[in-house]
């Protein structure tokens, strides 16, 4: 179907022109502002005032008032009329004569005396220059086809005279002419051509048989003409003879044509046809009987039948566009809109264009052409809420949005659009998801961020869309009040918790999630929700929240729950972190967790605090004791594991309260090893070794004890311990154990031969021992002794040499004078000397006496502190 682009409105009815005189016909027209001139075949010119009056329904009507009519006195038809309004003249062609008539009085203008006069004879046709070359506003240029063979003349017309500018001849007889600047566009007998009348350059356009069909040469703009072409085409040609616009397809018998942008209007005997220049399509066709004249004056298209005059009123562009849109002819509507851009003020065009694009988008949307719809929405910068509001319940009730008026589309809502087809509804929803995904975050959607995010959230929840969590994890503006019930409805509790958190309601989030973990609510989004909560508590800066919800977490799984405390930042800045003492108090009820936490403090973070070490040791011990004292014998690896932990702590820590633990182990002969260690910690090595050798009879452990207990101290203390052990072995007493102990002694000596004081050993060894037995020991002892002797001699030699060197230096220095003056500075404090009392450093460096005294007193404790601390002694000082 076509567009309604124009409306045919009567302007001058038959009564006003010729009444019932049948033989009188309209011959030509001129319209200038409100003035309409009509020439008839009885040589009259009628002058009307044409008033535009709005009629009901917003239409336009014309009322013509006859001002005058004038007989030109030639008894021939008035062939052509043209107004030169600046001159107040009508140029009239009648009976082959061209002359001037006053526009107001219609009196013929007499020729000015002397000059060439105000008439031209032998004229078959003429035209005005649409693009005058003469700058003088009080003259017009015309081109005239002369009845003399093959001649075209160009004249300048003044108020009362005409002046020939140029005469050119053509190869064939011209019949129609049009003039633009210097370019004549002519219809010759067999073709059209363009002729530059100043240069004489010509360009043939195309063949056309002017005798067969009436040629049309219509200037449509600067240096561009519209021509009737063979085959019923309307061809465009510019002054260079190039066709730059696609032709339109007219009927064969076109009488007149005009351009009323963006349309080409053509008249034949029965129809007015209207083609778009934008897509060359026929857009409208109006029946028009006895069509005779079609001309455009300043954009106004005037038509005449033989008896009456009409005006072709263009409908407002917007209405045309809306008509097209009503017919779902989106592309045409857009082409029309965009084609009209040059004729519409910029801002108005933008508003119009945007609206059309939006409407176009909804039309495509209604047809589920989502890709196209999205493109239109994007270009039309659609307010996303227009689209959201189509989907029931997606807009938050608090949104202030109201749909655009007049509406962009006829749909009440999605159900209306989809007519209950659930498949369609679903596709629309998927589209909205992708659409909102793309508009989200753009500048255009800034005003409706909340609505966009909330709608997305609802759609994601409803569609079980994976992006729900991404949305909530990112910066979003979802409205909590509106979204929460929706998420609950769709059992998206995890998501709801996230939303609470986005809104700073961590506590609500945790409460909700706890109910999910406890199985009160069902949402399988995160199977590891419990760990997730622990993680949140771990990194939660709000300690209130941590104290409030950790209890639950610890109850559920102490090992994981305790991470809330153990995985917290152990960095320098412990402000804002819970104090370990508070945590331990808090964990009182959760013994497992407390143990884990203490292990974390003592073993991982290596917190050097007696309380934690003692507590951990006590807890370890209690665990071992409870295993030992249990009714059923414990699994062996369970017990050994517990003891290993205890022993390791007892050995490695120096902070726990030894006596306390010893008291707790009192009388427990299953924990002799531990007791030995504790005695060791108390430096009671005799007791410790006694336990190991006599009670436990574990010689390996005894030997290991000696090494452990002396591991961080001097070799003399190790020697002391080894001797202690050796003595224990040797006075092992009688009985069958004596042999055992002797063997242990031999092994000890042989293994650590170099560590013993050999002389002392030899003095205590029983006489009866064979040399063979002690060979490894003796070998090592002798080698160690020789080595020590040689080392000492070497040291002695070196010391002597050094001493000699120093003596030599001293002698040298003594012989030199040492200069001290008030100008020299002390090397230590850099102040000058004020008295001769100085001390001289090696190298003849004088310094103040007080400076060197100061230096010595400063460095004395330093040198002491620098030397390696005696581990044993520090250990001891800490034991109280």
């Amino acid at each position: 179907m076509s567009v309604k682009a124009f409306e045919l409105v009567p302007a001058v009815e038959r009564d006003l022109l010729m009444g019932d005189k049948a033989r009188i016909n309209v011959e030509c027209l001129e319209c200038c502002g409100k003035h309409l001139y009509v020439g008839t075949n009885d040589c009259f010119v009628h002058h009307f005032l044409l008033e535009e009056v709005p009629s009901p329904k917003g239409r336009i009507a014309y009322v013509a008032q006859k001002l005058q009519q004038k007989y030109l006195g030639l008894k021939k038809p008035v062939a052509e009329l043209r107004a030169a309004s600046a001159l107040e003249r009508l140029i009239v062609l009648c009976d082959g004569v061209l002359f001037l008539v006053d526009m107001a009085t219609l009196e013929t203008v007499p020729s000015a005396t002397g000059s060439g006069g105000a008439r031209i004879k032998g004229v078959t046709s003429f035209c005005m220059n649409g693009n005058p070359v003469n700058a003088d506003p009080f003259c017009v240029e015309i081109a005239v086809i002369s009845s003399r063979r093959r001649t075209v003349q160009v004249y300048t017309v003044f108020e009362d005279r005409v002046q020939l500018v140029k005469e050119v001849t053509t190869t064939e007889q011209p019949s129609v002419v049009s003039l633009d600047g210097y370019f004549l566009c002519l219809a010759l007998a067999s073709q059209y051509m363009i002729l530059n009348y100043t240069t004489g350059a010509s360009q043939d356009l195309f063949p056309y048989n002017s005798e067969e069909r009436r040629p049309i040469v219509k200037r449509i703009g600067r240096e561009e003409f519209l021509l009737a072409a063979p085959g019923g085409l309307g061809m465009f040609a510019n002054a260079e003879g190039v066709s730059q616009r696609a032709p339109v397809n007219w009927s064969e018998r076109v009488i007149g044509a005009a351009v009323c942008f963006p349309y080409v209007v053509a008249l034949d005997q029965d129809f007015i046809s209207i083609h778009s220049m934008l897509d060359q399509q026929l857009k409208q066709s109006l029946a028009f009987r006895d069509g005779h004249i079609l001309q455009d004056f300043e954009g106004k298209v005037v038509l005449a039948s033989t008896k009456a005059v009409y005006i072709l009123v263009p409908l407002p562009l917007e209405q045309q566009i809306q008509d097209l849109l009503c017919g779902d002819r989106v592309e045409e509507a857009l082409v029309l809109t965009e084609g009209a851009q040059p004729n519409i003020p910029r801002d108005r065009f933008q508003i119009l264009h945007r609206r059309i694009l939006q409407q176009a988008g909804f039309i495509q949307f209604g047809q589920l052409q989502f890709q196209e719809a999205q493109e239109y929405f994007r270009k039309g910068e659609l307010d996303a809420r227009e689209l959201i509001s189509l989907y029931p319940l997606l807009l938050p009730p608090t949104s202030s949005f109201t749909r655009c008026h007049p509406p962009l589309h006829p749909f009440a809502d999605l159900n209306h659009l989809a007519q209950g087809d659930p498949g369609k509804v679903l596709r629309c929803k998927r589209f909205l998801i992708s659409y909102l995904g793309t508009v989200r975050g753009t500048e255009a959607s800034r005003v409706c961020r909340e609505e966009v995010d909330t709608a997305l959230l609802k759609l994601y929840a409803e569609q079980d869309h994976e992006s729900l969590l991404d949305l909530l994890a990112s910066d979003n503006t979802c409205l909590l009040a509106d979204s929460a019930p929706w998420l609950e409805k769709h059992s998206k509790y995890f998501a709801l918790g996230l939303l609470y958190r986005c809104n700073g309601q961590d506590s609500a989030a945790l409460q909700l999630w706890i109910r999910v973990v406890d199985g009160e609510l069902q949402d399988s989004t995160r199977p590891d929700l419990y760990e997730y909560i622990v993680d949140i508590l771990t990194f939660c800066p709000d300690l209130d929240l941590v104290w409030r919800y950790s209890d639950w977490a610890l109850k559920r799984d102490p090992k994981v729950g305790v991470q809330i405390f153990t995985k917290r930042s152990a960095g320098k800045d412990q402000s804002g972190q819970p104090k370990p003492d508070d945590v331990i108090t808090y964990l009182e009820k959760h013994s497992h967790a407390r143990l884990f936490y203490l292990e974390h403090l003592v073993l991982e973070r290596r917190v050097q605090k007696e309380k934690f070490h003692s507590l951990l040791a006590v807890l370890y011990l209690e665990q071992v004791l409870s295993l030992l004292g249990g009714s059923r014998p414990p699994a062996p690896d369970q017990l050994s594991h517990a003891r290993d932990r205890l022993q390791a702590l007892l050995r490695e820590s120096n902070l726990y309260r030894v006596q306390l633990l010893l008291d707790k182990m009192e009388g427990c002969d299953q924990l002799l090893l531990e007791q030995a260690t504790l005695h060791g910690k108390l430096e009671d090595h005799g007791k410790a070794l006694d336990i190991l050798v006599h009670q436990l009879r574990d010689y390996g452990s005894a030997e290991a004890y000696c090494l452990w207990a002396s591991s961080s101290s001097t070799s003399s203390s190790r020697q002391h311990l080894l001797h202690l052990l050796l003595d224990l072995y040797l006075d092992g007493g009688a009985g069958e154990r004596a042999g055992d102990l002797e063997m242990a002694a031999v092994d000890l000596l042989n293994r650590h031969g170099d560590q013993f004081d050999a002389v002392r050993v030899l003095s205590v060894l029983p006489e009866g021992w064979s040399l063979q037995l002690l060979k490894p020991f003796l070998g090592r002892a002798v080698r160690a002794s020789v080595h020590a002797g040689r080392t000492s001699r070497l040291a002695l030699g070196l010391s002597r040499a050094e001493n000699l060197q120093l003596l030599h230096d001293r002698l040298k220095e003594r012989r030199k004078p040492i200069l001290v003056s008030e100008k020299r500075g002390c090397h230590l404090c850099h102040n000058t000397f004020s008295c001769p009392d100085v001390v001289c450093l090696p190298g003849a460096v004088p310094v103040h006496t007080h400076c060197i005294a100061h230096r010595l007193s400063d460095s004395a404790p330093n040198t002491h502190a620098d030397s390696a601390p005696d581990k044993h002694s520090t250990q001891n000082s800490n034991h109280t």
């Binding site: 600046a86 649409g130 693009n131 195309f206 449509i220 063979p230 085409l233 032709p247 220049m277 082409v335």
Partner: protein, 259 residues
């Protein structure tokens, strides 16, 4: 999608000439709409504006009618490229190029580029039977669907090598060398030196509007080649007569003086 460019004046003109039914309209349709339809009648001159980079290129299709009425040379006036089309299954259509259409191109620009295009290659060449996937759009292929062969498509090259004798190639009436020979004769007709002109194997195409084979390559090669012509034209016509209709108000104002 409607093109904003439809309102713009074209910078350059490309004209498709050739005998009736060789597939001129189908080629233009395939290129612009990415589709093939079995019957499209060419009403008036089909015309399409293509935005190519910053330029607007108008492509003019012609119908026998215009050529008959002598409008062909009007269409070609000012053309920067002319596509001379024949049908590979119809030897006469190649002959017609030389006999009827070549003279119409006299009005084209001096530096006009000529391409010789043998269309309907799908009927003779298995390679050209493969539907070219275009922008993920489905092609309405008509009855041709069953004929599709499972061949690897080599990247579109302007001149497909002649396929080995296969049953379908029996139909082929115009060989590639005949097209290149014609191209040489056209250069001579234009008085152009073969060495300084574009080489024949670059300017002779075999296409299929039906499958889309080589169609994009044809148009895009031409567009790239006419760019210098656009630039030249722009420089020449600083105050060119190519002014839009928007100017009509102003022009009228002048004419009427102080009305």
């Amino acid at each position: 999608m409607p093109e904003v460019s439809k309102m713009k004046k074209p910078d350059v003109k490309v004209v498709i000439l050739g005998d009736t039914s060789v597939g001129k309209t189908s080629l233009l349709h395939r290129y612009t709409e990415r589709k093939f339809r079995d019957t499209i009648s060419t009403v008036g001159g089909a015309f399409y504006l293509k935005q190519w980079g910053p330029y607007n290129i108008s492509i003019w299709d012609t119908a026998g009618r215009e050529q008959f009425h002598g409008l062909g040379s009007m269409y070609c006036r000012g053309a920067a490229a002319i596509i001379l089309t024949y049908d590979v299954t119809n030897w006469q259509s190649l002959a017609e190029i030389e006999e009827r259409f070549l003279s119409l191109t006299d009005t084209a620009n001096n530096d006009c580029i000529y391409a010789i295009v043998g269309n309907k290659a799908d009927l003779t060449d298995p390679q050209a039977q493969l539907t070219v996937a275009t922008d993920g759009l489905t092609d309405d292929q008509g009855e041709g669907g069953e004929q599709r062969m499972k061949l690897q498509v080599p990247p579109a090259c302007p001149t497909p090598p002649a396929s080995p004798a296969s049953p379908s190639s029996l139909l082929k009436q115009v060989g590639h060398d005949e097209a290149t020979a014609l191209y040489g004769r056209i250069l001579r007709y234009k008085g152009l030196d073969e060495k300084s002109s574009l080489p024949a194997d670059r300017m002779c195409f075999e296409t299929s509007a039906k499958t889309g084979y080589n169609v994009d390559a044809l148009f895009e090669t031409l567009f790239d080649l006419v760019l210098p012509s656009i630039l030249r034209k722009r420089n020449e016509n600083q105050w060119s007569p190519t002014v839009d209709l928007e100017d009509y108000r102003e022009a009228n104002g002048k004419r009427r003086g102080c009305c």
